[in-house]
């Protein structure tokens, strides 16, 4: 670990200024940053500690929706009564993420910014080639161990999976990321790797995530987050789905549907084709299963991750049926 300087920001403005310094990195809960510094992936010159900033950890709920401060802890958001009742998918995505210890430390802002779990990305000493770490150096994963890698949104430069759970729910429910005054739709906040996998988020140097907001909707109120993995806890998703549903007055015809996938794509993956295919339809198992196959349109596997192509539509279908069938 290299020497670095440490600054404790005492206002958002000060944090933004410090974050604009070359080699500066924000420190919130530290569960990603310190981990990656130990692996030798991040070598900040200045660590800007924002964890003590006042007022950034509030959670405000009103008729229009919820606004969650960037420093709110994963555990407090997961346990928040109104988030549980009005945005169950958000609560469920959070409590199924990481471990209790990590959730007590980790913040919502940091959570959005977490990096991929690609093992090659995390081991620079042994695998110098990684376009995400060092643009133009190549990709060590392609042709290697790819069980966890993405099948959607990949490029020749990078096939790394976006690992987070919360963002999948945020993308499904049209959340907005607040960078001070600038606002970016969650779906636009996460970038496809394309030829520039080192650019992961639509955030510029000197910007700080201050909050996220999620608009209230009937679909968000009737939603779930289904996470499938080998280990029951403390593992990233093999495939996951955030799903919300709203019925017409008949209680059977789908009026609004939100579907996003996690664990299978290079960014939180909104599956609009599935949504469109099912809007106006009755909730029936066969129809849902058929439509769910649209979730993996265009998927490309790299051998060991082929199972994700089978798995993802099944997860989507199960999640839709689960929220649809519960009264």
């Amino acid at each position: 670990m290299r020497d670095f300087s440490y600054l404790r920001a005492n206002s958002v403005d000060a944090a933004c200024q410090a974050a604009a310094l070359p080699g500066a990195m924000l420190l919130a809960g530290g569960t990603t940053l310190i981990d990656l510094a130990k692996c030798g992936v991040t070598e900040p010159e200045t660590v800007v500690d924002i964890s003590h900033l006042k007022g950034l950890d509030t959670i405000t709920v009103d008729d229009r929706g919820v606004t969650i401060g960037a420093l709110a802890r994963m555990s407090s958001v997961a346990d928040h009564a109104e988030i549980k009742s009005r945005f169950p998918a958000v609560s469920e995505a959070l409590w199924q993420a990481a471990s209790a210890q990590l959730r007590n430390m980790a913040t919502i802002g940091g959570n959005l910014m977490q990096r991929t779990r690609c093992p090659y990305f995390r081991d620079p000493a042994n695998f110098p080639a990684c376009n995400k770490r060092t643009p133009g150096s190549g990709c060590s994963a392609i042709g290697g161990v790819t069980r966890g890698h993405a099948v959607l949104g990949t490029s020749e430069a990078c096939i790394a999976t976006y690992p987070g759970d919360l963002a999948t729910a945020l993308v499904a429910f049209d959340a907005t990321v607040h960078l001070g005054d600038r606002q970016v739709a969650a779906d636009d906040f996460f970038l496809l790797p394309g030829a520039t996998p080192h650019r992961e988020h639509a955030i510029e140097p000197g910007e700080v995530i201050t909050a996220i907001s999620i608009p209230a909707s009937a679909a968000a109120g009737r939603s779930t987050y289904l996470k499938v993995r080998d280990r029951q806890s403390y593992e990233f998703a093999a495939a996951s789905a955030a799903v919300g549903i709203e019925f017409e007055a008949d209680g059977r015809t789908i009026r609004d549907l939100r579907v996003a996938l996690g664990g299978v794509a290079t960014k939180p993956w909104r599956a609009r084709a599935v949504e469109e295919a099912l809007k106006g339809k009755l909730l029936e198992a066969d129809i849902v299963k058929q439509a769910s196959l649209l979730a993996i349109e265009g998927a490309v596997d790299h051998g060991a991750n082929h199972y994700k192509i089978e798995l993802a539509p099944r997860v989507v279908a199960r999640a839709i049926l689960k929220v649809g069938e519960t009264a």
Partner: protein
């Protein structure tokens, strides 16, 4: 703070429930809680590398990034001039060490030993080390060491075409009858291949040490399952007398077989400490725990079973292969359960080892028995379906009434009882025969059974017991407690023999200055040490009673008794007449500071050299088939799984295991160990696998986020039932092994349950979702 200090402050442990006929929790057989528990939970327990030493410096290893080839050059210039750096060690400036005797007592070749490699045989091998004032400085400087290599093609694993068939291990060959012919002639035949991947011990406390030289005396604080064995290695490496090395290891945060030996990093740290004249700490990082020493070797087995139409086995033909390293030899005995579990007139087992570019594999909970059971206990299940009988029934039909291999009676084998008791508690009789016949929504439910076994490894031990002025008792031994409960059961043993409450017994372990001890491994320690402490405590009690009877200043002198009883720390005559004094009062009146007695279970004819061998090698251990009996622990696991039909995820929803470990010295601790083994078995069955990048011969999931061990959420309530009876052929007090038994048979029971649930037979561990989807 020592265990004793914490306990005397708490002194809360009074009587518990009784079992095995013991009246008090504190007696042998009672359910006394772990006496070291509070120290560990409150953080007061100080682990080896937590020692604070004046002038401590920090070593960090530099590891090879290739799996095969040679180090061309090492550029240390930048590292040497980095802040705080005291020393950069490479093969060019190491001290010359000797090669040490190994655990089997093999005399070492007269060649120097270098813990830093020039010839690279696996990725992650130590090639250099940096020592600095602070850990952070050492880490930073280690990243500046530039190693260049001439790389050659590596053999990455057993599937590598370059790996070949390997080397036959003749000592593993077991044959009787004509297995091949009998198999060919059998009316019912099955033959299948069963594979287990590289698995790792993953102890909570990673390895590491602090090495400190004072003149030619070396003290090493290091978590250790074998203080004397490791002290001998250090002594021989550095050419100093055995007595000059002191190993200290008061607590061990899990070993599972991985902490019995001194490894290369230990040599690096001790060498650096000697060169610098300062204590050096080297803490192995979590990723390094996958390459600084070996986990369980990957294995392949084929099991062919020939049977008659009723499922009676006529022949077993077994072939096994395990990985070993390019320059080391590890044999994982794959035929160990195959040859004893079932009666068969014809048998053949052979084994090869295949050299691949890996660190030499090592012991992991039930080495040999564990993968062996996965093969035979899966195969017999397949045979049951082939014949069309219940998997439990086929096991009973082929029950081995004696050891089929050595043709000797079992000392005790409560396996039939285990099947019966386990099946009843589980409700096995309600099991539908056909696969895929139980379901709950999307979940397919399956029930599986498998048996397990582990040999009784016996050795000799010694212990020191003191009765102190204040009437308390002290036990000393250089054996260790890695969580399995040595502190507790030795306190119970001494308490029962001397006649004091267990809370008045202080057990001191984990320091090689105490009475010498052999390895803690192979589930032998409890049997060895309870015997030794029993003897030492009996000698101390005899001396105490002798003093009370015969010392002129004793209050009992006038009584002219020929014996006295000691209980609850007080001395009385058996009839209750005469004085009633505490041990402290008696020692006071006769003017004795303390009573001290060594006790051992070693043969009277033994020389000092024999004792040394007993404590530093395994050559003096008794084979489990020595004499008239074959001695083993036994168990039967009944497991329910739920498999999500769409997702392929397997959840273990119920476990009932009945186990025969003979007499239990402390049922509570034995149950915990069994459960720990079962939990590890669930992880092995469903999650654990070292994943190799086949282009680089490197484990890529070398951390605890990616190498998956079971979490609490993966574990249902586990019911364990003891069916053992005291086995005096196995140990002085009648116990058999506990620690390794529980894991053996869990993986096949789960695989069998998965088959029952889904109709899919998975023969490759772990059973991950893509294998069932």
């Amino acid at each position: 703070m020592t265990v004793h200090e914490i306990r005397t402050r708490q002194s809360e442990s009074k009587r518990g429930d009784a079992s095995d006929g013991a009246i008090f929790a504190e007696a042998v057989g009672g359910r006394l809680s772990r006496v070291d528990g509070p120290a560990k939970i409150t953080g007061a327990a100080k682990y080896a590398v937590e020692q604070q030493l004046e002038g401590l410096s920090h070593a960090v290893l530099v590891e090879s990034t290739i799996a095969a080839g040679k180090v061309r050059s090492i550029d240390t210039a930048a590292a040497e001039s980095a802040p705080g750096v005291l020393l950069v060690l490479t093969p060019d400036n190491v001290l010359r060490l000797n090669t040490a005797t190994d655990w089997l007592g093999t005399p070492p070749p007269d060649v120097p030993y270098c813990p830093l490699a020039r010839d690279i045989t696996f990725s992650g091998q130590h090639v250099a080390a940096v020592v600095a004032e602070s850990f952070e400085q050492a880490v930073a400087a280690a990243a500046l060491v530039k190693v260049s290599y001439d790389e050659t093609p590596a053999i990455v694993d057993l599937d590598d075409p370059k790996a070949g068939d390997g080397i036959p291990v003749d000592t593993m060959t077991k044959e009787w009858g004509d297995a091949q012919a009998a198999f060919t002639a059998a009316p019912v035949r099955i033959c299948a291949a069963y594979n287990t991947p590289r698995e790792y011990q993953a102890p909570m406390e990673p390895h590491g040490l602090i090495a400190h030289w004072q003149g030619d005396r070396l003290t090493v604080w290091e978590p250790s399952q074998w203080l004397d064995g490791m002290a001998r290695t250090y002594a021989e490496w550095f050419g100093v007398p055995f007595e000059n090395v002191r190993l200290v290891s008061p607590y061990i945060g899990g070993g599972f077989g991985s902490k019995a030996f001194a490894y290369g990093y230990g040599a690096v740290a001790a060498m650096a400490a000697k060169m610098l004249g300062r204590p050096v700490k080297l803490a192995v990082t979590r990723p390094q725990t996958f390459t600084a020493y070996g986990g369980r070797a990957a294995t392949r087995q084929t099991v062919a079973l020939g049977a008659d139409a009723e499922g009676r086995i006529q022949s077993i033909v077994h072939r096994g292969v395990n990985e070993t390293s390019v320059d080391g030899m590890w044999v994982e005995p794959l035929g160990s359960v195959t040859s004893i579990m079932y009666a068969t007139p014809n048998f053949s087992s052979r084994q090869n080892v295949v050299r691949v570019n890996t660190v030499v594999p090592g012991a992991l909970r039930a080495p040999g028995e564990n993968p062996s059971a996965f093969g035979i206990e899966s195969a017999i299940d397949e045979l049951a379906y082939e014949v069309g009988i219940d998997p439990l029934e086929i096991r009973l039909r082929n029950y081995a009434e004696q050891d089929p291999e050595v043709k000797k009676p079992w000392s005790t084998r409560q396996l039939r009882e285990a099947f019966a008791v386990g099946a009843a508690a589980f409700g096995w009789s309600k099991r539908p025969r056909e696969p895929r016949s139980m379901r709950d929504g999307n979940q397919l439910i399956g029930w599986g059974v498998a048996a397990g076994t582990y040999p009784v490894r016996r050795a000799y031990g010694e212990a020191m017991v003191r009765i102190l002025t204040d009437g308390s008792v002290e036990v000393e031994s250089s054996s260790i407690d890695m969580g399995q409960g040595t502190y507790t059961i030795l306190a119970q043993t001494a308490a029962e023999v001397v006649g004091v409450p267990a809370e008045n017994v202080v057990v001191k372990l984990g320091d090689s200055r105490y009475a010498r001890a052999g390895v803690t491994g192979g589930s032998r320690l409890a049997g060895v040490m309870t015997g030794a402490v029993h003897k030492a405590a009996t000698a101390a009690l005899d001396e105490l009673v002798g003093l009370a009877i015969s010392d002129p200043n004793s209050p009992f002198h006038a009584l002219q008794a020929n014996t006295l009883v000691v209980s609850e720390g007080r001395i009385r005559s058996p009839r209750g007449d005469g004085p009633d004094v505490s041990i402290a009062e008696l020692l006071g009146s006769v003017g004795r500071e303390q009573i001290e007695a060594m006790g051992d279970t070693t043969p009277a004819t033994w020389t000092a050299e024999d004792r040394y061998k007993n404590n530093t090698t395994i050559t003096m251990a008794l084979p489990h088939t020595e004499g008239d009996y074959s001695r083993h622990s036994w168990c039967a696991h009944f497991i329910e799984v739920r498999v999500d039909e769409d997702f392929g995820t397997v959840r273990v929803s119920r476990v009932v295991s009945a186990l025969d470990s003979g007499r239990l010295y402390n049922p509570k601790l034995a149950e915990s160990q069994w459960k720990g083994g079962i939990i590890m078995g669930i992880g092995q069955a469903l999650l654990e696998e070292g994943i190799v990048d086949r282009r680089h011969g490197r484990i890529v999931n070398n951390n605890l986020a990616d190498y998956l061990i079971a979490t609490n959420a993966d574990i249902p309530d586990i019911e364990v039932i003891s069916v053992g009876i005291p086995d005096l052929h196995s140990s002085l007090l009648g116990g058999k092994g506990v620690g390794e038994l529980g894991i053996v048979g869990v993986a096949p029971a789960i695989a069998n349950a998965v088959f029952h649930a889904t109709g899919k037979r998975v023969r490759d561990l772990p059973i991950t979702l893509e294998k069932l989807i």
